[in-house]
């Protein structure tokens, strides 16, 4: 966690400096509607889909294949526009970080797990933008989050399968039960991405973003010495609308 905080600070401060220098410090562009400067706040909503990669070293368990799975993201956003080209933005987002586990083993081809994980994420980002009617934005920051719930479905080897060789009893579909000793429900990391903003009315912007949530917190607690960490990397494509207050 301390690394995540340090990383965010190291990212945001140079950005502010670079951006300020490059724009001459007067926020002279990006203000298609000059009166927005009077009310520098906007709020918005967004939704989209994502693809999450569950990063874990499987060592000698080499036929366990974790593959990315799609999920949904949605949330609300608030931004404070410091200048015409620079703003601070914070989200309250529900982000699914799903994955699939397959077995690359011919005798286990029916075995799989589809894991759905629902996270509450609170990213805070520095945003710089260029352009007028259409603005290109880039943003970076950090996020903290909480693993709200999970669900597992799929097929698994069972004792019954070895008694009968019948796959009927290999299915499962259940809410995930957290293990207090293992599961680290606190989440944090960096978030970054880019997108576009389009002003469609005097106080309304449409947005389209591509965003990466790069988890820096192991989703497992450090409950054993000799363990491989697990992280999530989530790429979202999201669309939103913002209203200038």
């Amino acid at each position: 966690m301390k690394y995540a905080r340090l990383f965010i600070v190291l990212l945001v401060l140079p950005m502010l400096t670079i951006a300020q220098q490059s724009m001459g410090g007067d926020g002279s562009f990006g203000s298609m509607f000059p009166d927005k400067a009077i009310s520098p706040c906007s709020i918005g909503i967004f939704a989209g889909s994502n693809s999450n990669t569950h990063v874990v070293g499987t060592a000698y368990a080499s036929d366990m294949k974790y593959t990315p799975a799609s999920g949904l993201t949605a949330g609300i956003n608030a931004a404070y526009h410091i200048t015409g080209w620079f703003s601070l933005s914070a989200d309250f987002a529900l982000v699914q970080k799903n994955y699939r586990l397959d077995r690359d083993n011919p005798s286990l081809s029916f075995v799989y797990t589809d894991a759905t994980n629902n996270y509450l994420s609170l990213p805070v980002m520095a945003v710089i933008s260029v352009g007028r009617t259409f603005r290109v934005v880039a943003f970076a920051g950090g996020y903290v989050g909480y693993w709200l719930s999970g669900h597992r479905s799929g097929q698994s080897l069972s004792v019954s399968y070895f008694i009968t060789r019948n796959q009927d009893d290999t299915f499962f579909d259940e809410d995930y039960e957290f293990n207090e000793q293992r599961d680290n429900r606190f989440d944090s990391g960096i978030v970054y991405g880019a997108g576009m903003r389009c002003a469609i009315a005097r106080k309304i912007d449409l947005s389209a973003d591509v965003r990466w949530y790069y988890g820096l917190t192991d989703i497992q607690k450090s409950y054993m010495t000799n363990m491989n960490p697990r992280y999530n990397t989530t790429r979202t494509i999201q669309f939103g609308v913002a209203y200038w207050l």
Binding site: L101, T113, L157, S160, T170, N228
Partner: protein, 415 residues
């Protein structure tokens, strides 16, 4: 204006690229190189210890239930094995004591560790169940042979038979109520399916499985196609798995599933799924199918088991106990209820690993955690009988198998 825009876009691009690169060199912990405990050659006491320790660390099934601090075990014992290497070897007693200390208290009653002493070349063993089972107040050695010898001597016994091809199995009919019979079957291991195949392939005579033909009407692999179990004049069936150390899971369907009118929905099972101690699969139903040829009436079904009944025998006791017309008479069983499968490590990266002959170490341990409908595990505990009847050595010396007689009494009196 255009120059300003161009400069800004360039800066923007630089920032994006920097972020992207930084993300991939940032603060995630690296994955560890791990020893594959199933295929690791060891030439020192320390490497043997590290391999076995890490194998159990990653492959052992019951970490969620065990209270042993396994990291502390490593810290405590590593200096001991370093000392063995430093002084040029250890005695068998020293090595055995070190490994016994290592696995002491683990709940898995299947577990057995076999290590080759690099100095003497001798095998040493450690088995956590040995530190628990013999200390139960009702523990006794296995007296199966003496009990079996009494079978044909009981008054009224008819149609006594036994396998004659190396598979130890015994059958008999005891007198019941109102001229009815009580069918009795005892076998020493769950190898019925493999022996049955040998019989059907002509490698062994059918007489090898004579008690099964008498009881089930076939070699035991096809449910109840006839035999005592199907006869109307047989009022109860006794399956005796005392002293039976277990065997193949595939025997459960024909032998036990056929004693039920419907599939037996016992509980759930799960296995390790990943190398973390607490990486488990989901729970999936543990059911035993009822073969097409199964019991048709409501005969009483009694399973006899004792402290030396392990593994499949205990599962059999649990399954029969769960039947509406089933009852378990005898003693709390051994406590090795987590099944194993052949080649389990290659499928599940858990369970049995190593190869004593090739690698000098071998660890035998469970693949599946089995629980009942209430998610209660009996691993390390054993199955508790409905009617407890502790083995009586004095009675046996006087020609009485008190546990068998208790089962017969139950059938004859209903209590």
């Amino acid at each position: 204006m255009f120059r300003e825009m161009k400069s800004a876009y360039r800066k923007l691009l630089s920032i994006c690229l920097s972020l992207y690169l930084l993300a991939f060199v940032s603060c995630r912990k690296e994955s560890l190189e791990m020893i594959n405990p199933d295929r690791h050659y060891c030439n020192t006491y320390v490497s043997q210890f590290e391999t076995v320790w890490s194998g159990i660390d990653h492959s052992y099934l019951f970490w969620e239930r065990d209270t042993i601090d396994w990291d502390d075990v490593h810290e405590r014992l590593l200096p001991v094995f370093k000392e063995f290497d430093a002084k040029g070897g250890a005695s068998d007693a020293e090595l055995s004591e070190a490994y016994r200390s290592m696995v002491h208290g683990l709940v898995d009653h299947h577990m057995s560790v076999q290590i080759r002493n690099l100095k003497t070349g001798n095998p040493v063993y450690a088995n956590p169940a040995w530190d628990e089972v013999p200390y139960r107040d009702y523990y006794h050695y296995d007296f199966s042979n003496q009990q079996i010898a009494l079978l044909s001597t009981y008054s009224g016994v008819t149609e006594y038979c036994e396998g004659d091809g190396g598979f130890q199995c015994y059958g008999a009919l005891f007198p019941g109520n109102n001229g009815k019979k009580i069918a009795y079957l005892r076998f020493r291991s769950f190898d019925v399916t493999s022996y049955s195949q040998a019989v059907h392939s002509g490698y062994m005579p059918a007489s090898t499985m004579a008690p099964f033909y008498a009881f089930y009407g076939n070699s035991g692999s096809y449910g109840i196609t006839g035999g005592w179990a199907k006869r109307d004049d047989v009022e109860a069936l006794i399956i005796d798995v005392r002293g039976n150390g277990g065997g193949a899971l595939s025997d459960l369907k024909p032998l036990v599933g056929s004693l039920s009118k419907t599939r037996i929905d016992f509980g759930y099972s799960r296995h390790k799924e990943g190398l973390g101690r607490l990486d488990y699969s989901a729970w999936t139903p543990f059911v035993v199918d009822c073969p097409p040829d199964h019991i048709q009436d409501d005969k009483k079904i009694i399973v006899l088991a004792d402290v030396n009944s392990a593994s499949c025998s205990e599962i059999t006791a649990s399954l029969i106990k769960s039947l509406p017309n089933g009852i378990f008479i005898g003693e709390r069983t051994y406590g090795a209820t987590g099944p194993l499968i052949r080649g389990g490590f290659d499928l599940l990266y858990s369970g049995v690993f190593g190869d004593y002959n090739e690698l000098g170490y071998y660890v035998y341990t469970s693949n599946f955690d089995v629980v009942d409908k209430s998610y209660i595990s009996l691993e390390g505990e054993g199955v508790t009988p409905d009617i407890e009847c502790i083995f009586d050595a004095n009675a046996l010396q006087n020609g009485h198998d008190n546990q068998l007689e208790r089962a017969l009494l139950y059938v004859r009196t209903g209590k």
